[in-house]
Amino acid sequence: MIFSKKKITTAYTVEKCTKCGTLTKRKFHDGDVLFTKSTKCNSCDGLTRIEKIFGETIEQ
């Protein structure tokens, strides 16, 4: 047990622009729900939709 590393999982949200298809990955915010229209796209004037919500685990 003394050699086991601590694992930390961080939740991420991936948004996809419905117009240009640009993918943006950011940290998960409370209230994020899959497939909901989220923010304005940084590349064009389209709206982004939440495509994925997932966790990534790193060992410390």
Binding site: A11, F28, V33, L34, K52, I53, G55, E56, T57
Partner: protein, 373 residues
């Protein structure tokens, strides 16, 4: 007698000039192990099991605290909520008698649904402003806390009984089963943050695949907490079914199937679900097969199989492999990344197994927490 003049050659010899100290070195442990071997093993094993039980106790306490904090911080609960929660945590379910198995599935379903209905009504009565989504979250958290409490109680009972009777053979199965129990318990404890935040879990990959196909289409409530959309796809009629998200529920796909097949002729059923991977298998790999891919206590599967058999509807399945922990904790990137591929597999399956003019029912099976439609 000089006890210090032994040499190592004498250690393995049993001749007349053997050092008496050496004889003791051999004989004492033999006597000790012959008469007290079981007790020594019991002592060593007990220490390991005690550590596990202490962990289970902390998980039980932690899950209860998380549930209470969630209720306090997110919902205006009435003053008697602590008493009610502790009462819920101790609820048990007595499964029906199976000496005569005829009709057992209906009995099990009735018992389980009665419990669900009772819990739902009483959890809702704890707060006037509890929405249906919040209600499913609290119910799931309650199920986790209740399961952890039950696991702790059973393991502790088995351990204390074995200790009380100094019974090593009784403690052996406990020692063997404990790693599996700990894996399940740890997974349940780790599932709490995802359900609290309304994030999708690994088991939600089926609803995620079908939910995206349902977007921008009209939905109807076909059964309790179950949503249906009808779309056209290359000359075929697709019935898309999943539990109603983004609440934490698995819906009632079997009841929905019954209603759909009463009004429509279905030519094929495709089920998409998460499945437990075998050790050595990679997570997030997909596999195709036949038969109803749905977990749980078996009543839903029984009902689906019965309807499909009576109407002669073939059932095809696509499963996404994952571990117990991955299935009930926040969805991993690998699993989320398979969604597009699985959707492509569903369309390929429709092409391969149906022709134009036919109808296909696609069911996204699993917990739909954080996955709307």
């Amino acid at each position: 007698m000089n006890f210090t003049n032994f040499d190592f050659d004498q250690l393995f010899s049993m001749s007349d000039d053997t050092n008496p100290l050496m004889m003791l070195v051999w004989i004492l442990p033999i006597i000790l192990f012959v008469f007290y071997g079981q007790q020594i093993q019991l002592f060593v094993t007990s220490r390991e099991i005690k550590k596990g039980i202490a962990k289970l106790d902390s998980f039980r306490e932690e899950s209860r605290t998380e549930l209470i904090n969630y209720l306090k911080n997110n919902l205006k609960v009435k003053d008697d909520h602590l008493k009610k929660i502790d009462k819920f945590l101790d609820y048990f379910t007595i499964m029906p008698v199976d000496m005569d198995p005829n009709g057992i599935v209906d009995k099990v379903q009735h018992t389980v649904r009665s419990r669900e209905d009772y819990t739902r009504t009483h959890v809702k009565s704890m707060s006037l402003e509890m929405s249906d989504i919040e209600l499913t979250k609290v119910q799931t958290l309650l199920e986790i806390a209740s399961s952890l409490q039950m696991i702790y109680k059973i393991i502790n009972h088995m351990f204390l009984t074995a200790k009380k009777q100094n019974n090593y053979p009784l403690i052996l199965p406990l020692q063997m089963i404990l790693p599996f129990i700990m894996e399940q318990a740890e997974a349940m404890k780790d599932a709490i943050p995802a359900f609290k935040s309304g994030q999708p879990v690994g088991d939600g990959i089926g609803p995620m695949v079908v939910g995206k196909m349902m977007l921008e289409h009209q939905k109807e409530n076909i059964a309790f907490q179950t949503s249906l959309s009808q779309i056209d796809f290359e000359g075929r009629k697709l019935f898309l079914l999943k539990a109603e998200g983004p609440g934490s529920t698995v819906g009632r796909p079997a009841d929905a199937l019954e209603t759909i097949t009463m009004k429509n002729k279905i030519d094929a059923i495709i089920m998409v679900d998460a499945a437990l991977k075998m050790e050595g298998e990679d997570s997030a790999t997909t596999a195709q097969g036949f038969g109803a891919a749905i977990g749980g206590i078996g009543t839903e599967r029984f009902q689906i199989e019965a309807i499909a058999t009576s109407k002669k509807i073939p059932i095809f399945s696509i499963v996404i492999k994952q571990s117990v922990k991955e299935a009930i904790t926040l969805m991993t990137k690998e699993i989320a990344d398979t969604a597009e591929d699985v959707r492509a597999q569903v369309f390929e399956m429709i092409h391969e197994n149906t022709s134009q003019g036919q109808s296909v029912l696609i069911i996204g099976v699993g917990n739909t927490a954080g996955v709307p439609q």
